[in-house]
Symmetry: C2
Subunit: 369 residues, 2 copies
């Protein structure tokens, strides 16, 4: 596939599926954002994409998107230009125009927000993002991990409020203050982070992730049309590994500190007959164990798919009795450095006893039995 230069109406459905797969159970639902992107395209606006390596070194690139509780984002109607207003507020704050946008988080809803705003503002969106997946907090993106100071940052809500975080002592403090603000805003708002130089973005972004989402989604749609095995297609596309096909036999979810925390228990079938699987989750799927032994954990991607359709299942949509395929995809090397693991490794999520062992990039893939 040539480098992606523009996202068309037809691409949006595929990106939606691919972004949800990369969301590893979290990241919010990209559906509403897709509908809004579609409306912009129908109005004649364009979603122009710039490949990461073509960014000019001195371009001013802003990472923006929604912040809040994903489940609220689906139900609370947006005014529609929240992200655009955060971008304008940042331009006012810094006195400089923004040249391009980028997603902090390709997994889930924030795949769509920068595309939407790019269409509204008439500037391109970069093919890449700051996670290559989804994570629950802002300081977990590569910008923060590799030294970007995200203040001044601007927040907006649907009622017209504009809040500027001009300075915070750390990236974690920005996350804390922004989180408190969005809760008061009604658990859904938009945030834009301090402009980054193109030279930094080229170094710190996970590359080509809009393309990746698009290809993943296309593969699923294609295999649905041809009635081939969608799980196998995904595994082939992403050098992924099928961890288990199984039935959900127990499920425990509760809210702790604003996050959905819990466990899913699986009973394997087919090739995994009589195996017991467990996934620990915290908005996203974090740790997969087989028969009590940890096999895969963050920052590698653990994805739960409907066994029949290959469509991704988010943590809130898990149900007793579902037949699923659990797939592991290797994360990008930028998430595997020592600095990165300190922020997004298993210990950072409360599992200091788990040592991260990078998932191999070329495992033997297996079909669904």
């Amino acid at each position: 596939m040539d480098k992606l230069r523009e996202v068309t109406l037809e691409d949006l459905d595929a990106i939606e599926i691919g972004a949800a797969i990369l969301g590893t159970g979290g990241g919010g639902n990209p559906y509403i954002g897709k509908l809004r992107c579609r409306e912009e395209l129908k109005k004649g606006r364009r979603i122009r994409v710039i490949p990461l390596d073509e960014l000019s070194d001195d371009a001013r690139v802003v990472s923006l998107g929604g912040i809040g509780a994903p489940v609220v984002g689906v139900e609370k109607i947006e005014q529609g230009e929240e992200c655009l207003r955060t971008m304008r507020a940042l331009e006012q704050e810094t006195g400089q125009k923004v040249d391009a946008l980028i997603s902090s988080e390709i997994g889930g809803a924030n795949s769509m927000e920068p595309m939407l705003t790019a269409a509204q503002a008439g500037i391109p969106v970069v093919d890449g993002d700051g996670m290559g997946r989804a994570f629950p907090e802002m300081q977990m993106c590569t910008w923060s991990i590799y030294g970007h100071k995200s203040t001044p940052a601007a927040m907006a809500d649907e009622k017209g409020s504009i809040v500027i975080f001009r300075d915070t002592p750390t990236e974690v403090w920005l996350e804390r203050l922004a989180r408190a603000t969005v809760v008061e805003m009604g658990a859904a708002g938009a945030i834009a982070l301090a402009p980054m130089r193109g030279s930094f973005v080229k170094r710190a972004a996970i590359p080509n992730t809009i393309t990746q989402a698009l290809q993943l989604g296309r593969a699923v749609l294609e295999s649905q049309r041809r009635n081939t095995d969608p799980i196998r297609t995904i595994l082939d596309k992403e050098s992924g590994q099928l961890l288990m096909t199984g039935k959900i036999v127990d499920l425990e979810r509760h809210l702790r500190g604003g996050f959905a925390v819990g466990h899913v228990y699986l009973e394997g079938f087919g090739d995994h007959e009589s195996q017991r699987g467990e996934i620990r989750l915290q908005n996203e799927f974090l740790v997969f164990s087989r028969n009590g032994e940890v096999e895969v954990c963050v920052p590698d991607l653990i994805v739960v798919l409907e066994a029949d359709t290959g469509l991704p299942i988010t943590t809130e949509m898990l149900r007793y009795g579902q037949r699923v395929a659990v797939v592991a995809l290797p994360c990008h090397d930028l998430l595997r450095s020592k600095e990165a693991l300190a922020v997004i490794g298993p210990a950072a999520f409360g599992y200091p006893e788990i040592t991260y062992t990078p998932l191999a990039r070329n495992p033997t893939t297996q079909g669904v039995s």
Copy 2:
């Protein structure tokens, strides 16, 4: 007394007492602020005071002070220039220098903060404030009631965070977002509100309230020295009314939505023998009833004083068995308009069944029996 032109070291103790009386049980403790003002004066800085009527019409006046839980403000050590940094952040945001400061709330801790910042910044503080007493929320000050839009507003904490509320749909929304932010900051921070024109401040401020606090405090100190009746002195000074001398026989306080809410029950003694008094409180003392009949309510001031010393008792210092004098002081006419009563009348505090009847300004005063 001539117009107050400067606050001296000797004045600070008196202002502390007077501000606490005007705090009507709430507003936070001015003690720490007094110590910090004292340090500034000892360094050779000055607290210059400008009478309200001498403000130039186009002066840019900023209302600033602490925000948060008063009880935390006493224990959490400030960095010391939080208010000054909010002022500088506002200057940066608006591109305009601030000419003078004013307190939003003379009652309690925020009597001191603008004096402190004025000394640090080398600008004067206005003799007046936005409440003439204490109230729990920002939209309850006269600036908001009489049409000032308080955004952009700037907040700071002791860790170096600066947050700008550039726009909010209403004054209440500013209060909500700032309150959520200060909770996350650790329940104590500083806030400066959008600059006001001198012409507006002259119309909307409660005049001469630094002078009033100073005189009240001096009267109490003087009567302590001379061993005269301090309650009587206060009543004389303020055209106040002694509602009841009594003993606290029951006390109920709990936290609801961040506010201290409850009741105090009194058994009268002396001239009030066999009377039952009740005070409803919500951070401040809001409603006084005698034998089940409401007599005085917000926005008029209900003050609880130690019967022996005349020193004010804040809601959190109330104790079973205390012998107290309950005094009512008439509020300023700016708090009695229809617009004002909609925001700070009894209905606004959850007592729609109580009709506000203004306290007379020249009642027959009575001594403590």
